[in-house]
Structures are given as C-alpha cells and as structure tokens.
Subunit: 197 residues, 2 copies
DNA sequence: CAGATGTTATAACACTGTTATGTTTCTCAA
DNA sequence: TTGAGAAACATAACAGTGTTATAACATCTG
C-alpha cells in the first residue's frame, strides 16, 4: 500500500533526524538509519534513493520548519520585528544544530541540494526581506535595497551562530553569547537606520 | 637526515594544499596526497600521523597566512582600518576557499583542531580586537568591550563570506557581492559608532 | 661490523555507500 | 481462487577510503 510506504518514509526520516540530533551529521550512516527505523538498508534506497536523498529530505524539512519558526516570531510592531526575527533565528539554530549545519554548511561531503530545495531555501530568506520592508515603511530602516539590508543582517546572524555552534566563545562565560548576539543585532539596526534618526 | 624529512613534510603539505585548491576539502585523500607528493601512503603516516595530521597542518598554515594578511592590511588611519580589515578578510577567504573552509567549518568529518591550533586561531581574532581598540581610541567606535564589537564584526564578515562561498547570491549579479559586503561593513561601523557622532 | 631504529613497499583490514541477487510477499486481474 | 507480475526483503558482494600490519631495506650508533 501507499500508506505504509509513506509511513516507512516517515519512520526513516525520523530515524535520520534522531541520529542527527544525537551524533551530528557524521552519525548519518545508511545502515544505522535503517536499523534505527527498523527496516533494512535497502529500504533507504527504495524510499529515498540513497544517502543524498535522506539528506535532501532533512534539508527540505529543516527549511520548512525554519521558515515557519521565523514567520511565527514576527508578530509585534515593526520596531521589534528585527530583534524578534534575529533571536528566533539564533534560537532555532541552537535547537536544531544538525539540521542547521546540513542546511547552511556542507556537512555531508557529497551532498548538494536540488534546484527545488535551493529555491525553498531562498523562500526562507524572503521572511527577512519582508521584515526589512516593513521596518522601512515604519521609518526604522533607511530606504534602499531591502534585499541588501536583509542580506547583511542574515550574514551577521549566520556568522555569529556558526561561531557559536563551533564552540568558539568571545569570552569565558557562555552566557554572554546571547547578549553579544543581541547587541550585534542592535548595532546592525542602528547601522541601517535612516540618517536623521 | 632530518632535512630530507622536513623537505618531505613540506612536499606532502604542498601536495595537500594543491589538491585542496583544485578539488576542495573532499579531494584530500591520503593516497592522492602521497601520489601527488611523490611518496608512499605510509610517508603521510610517518610525517603527519594520518589524515587528521595533514588537516591540522593545513589549519595551522591557514591561520598563519590569514593572520599575516590581516595584519598587513591594517596600515592606514584608524578611520580606514575597519574597512581595510574587512575587505582583506573577504579577499583572503575568496582566494583560499579550501583553507578557509577547513579553518572555519567542519569540512573534514572527523577533524577537530588541537588546543594549540585553537589558540592560534584566537590569535588571529586578536588583530580584529586591536583594530577595534585603535578605532575606539580615535573616537570612531563607541567605548566598551572591544571584544564584543570585534566579535560582531567578525560574525558579519564570516557569515557573508560563507554565504558567498556557498554560491548563494543576494542578487542575480555576482558583481554586487563585494558592494553588499562593503555596505555591511559600513553599517556595522555606524552601528557601533559613538552616540553623538 | 652488529644491532637498533626508522623507512619503504605491499598487502590486508575496517568502515561506509552502493549495487547485485535470489527469495519472499503482495497485488490484482482472469 | 489462482497464478503472473511487481514490489520488497535479506543477504551478500563490490568499490572507495582511512588505517594498520608485516616484511624487506636503509641508516645510524656503539
């Protein structure tokens, strides 16, 4: 039946996500995924076409949830949306480090996402652009290319998150990471504020 | 002799860097490194202890050259040093993408740098902190924790460079990447400027 | 010179992604 | 119901890669 197929697909993906959460990207081994999902190695090939298929599924699932988390975070006045978005970005990455690495770094050697998956990734970026435009409309950000401003903010978020995920700390106290991140967001907001502000 | 040992070490490292430049981190295969260096597979184990030893050598070599490039770039008035440093950061990463990936991402699955190598990496960060302090002294950046400001700037540089290395472009024109990056640097500088400026 | 130490060359091993193969099970029309 | 075709399973084999073993060779030391 098609329903059991789909259930097994789900079980395999869930097993892969479990291994990913527990041991990072390098814990994604086809045999282990199959064992964890309670099926044979071949099932992974029947359902996903191989390891890259699993990784692509994780990639797509990750961006789906990531985009959703970002959209849900933006629910206040435009003045607050930048910080809300930035903090949600970091939070999601810290809670889903394995997925984040697969989505934004080449943690799995041979894997490159399909064109459709890449488009989906850019759709996630659209949330940032929309937020920038809302803030521009409210006079909190300078006029100009919203894509460019969103890109710079994405860059700062991504860079700080990556450094944090890599375990590189600015100070001895790990508690400071969040404060440093928030301060970076504020600085970026000031940097892109209208001239007269 | 010890000199021939050292020469062979150098030949192996050079071969690894050549493969890295040509095919990226996943082109670093022990057999290929040995063949390119004109020695046997075992020589890699005698000289470097295995693949991780080679990767660590690339890591250390990379941070050595990276730090040097950053230091050489800072040679103007404090007002210009931020942009000089940021542009040198991006330029080095684009010219040494393989090394940059090994240094800042986990491009080689099992590899983790030794504590000494990690200290060396933080030494590179010190160039940023020194520059921030010079700019603070000249009144171009707000007073406060120089480490924190440098960290945010590093984050933005790292994030934008990683996105660029991953081939993700903000617009259709690849020429815009440098302009976007430079604008991001300016925004960060404005964001951390003293209040009255 | 003789032994110890290190290096070379070759091969074998372990792990992982992938493919092949024979068997079983299921589906569904006759 | 039944039998043919298809799908899936279980097992094994294959290919690539990091690593280790082993024996022959070289080099240095006393």
């Amino acid at each position: 039946m098609s329903s059991t197929s789909s259930e097994q697909q789900h079980a395999i993906l869930a097993a892969a996500l479990k291994l990913l959460a527990h041991g990072g990207p390098q814990a994604l081994r086809v045999r282990d995924i199959a064992t964890t999902a309670g099926c044979t190695t071949m099932a992974v090939y029947s359902r996903f076409g191989g390891k890259d298929g699993i990784v692509e599924a994780i990639y797509v699932d990750g961006f789906h949830r990531f985009t959703q988390a970002l959209e849900e975070a933006v629910n206040g006045r435009p003045a607050d949306q930048g910080e809300q978005l930035g903090m949600a970005y970091r939070m999601w990455a810290l809670e889903n480090p394995g997925s984040y690495q697969i989505m934004f770094t080449q943690a799995v050697p041979g894997f490159t996402p399909s064109p459709e998956a890449t488009l989906m990734a850019l759709g996630s970026f659209q949330v940032l652009v929309d937020t920038v435009q809302a803030q521009q409309g409210a006079g909190h950000l300078r006029q100009g290319d919203a894509t460019q401003i969103a890109w710079a903010q994405w860059g700062m978020s991504h860079g700080l998150v990556m450094l944090e995920l890599a375990g590189i700390q600015p100070t001895e106290e790990p508690v400071a990471a969040e404060a440093v991140y928030r301060d970076g967001l504020h600085a970026a907001a000031r940097g892109f504020a209208p001239d007269q502000a």
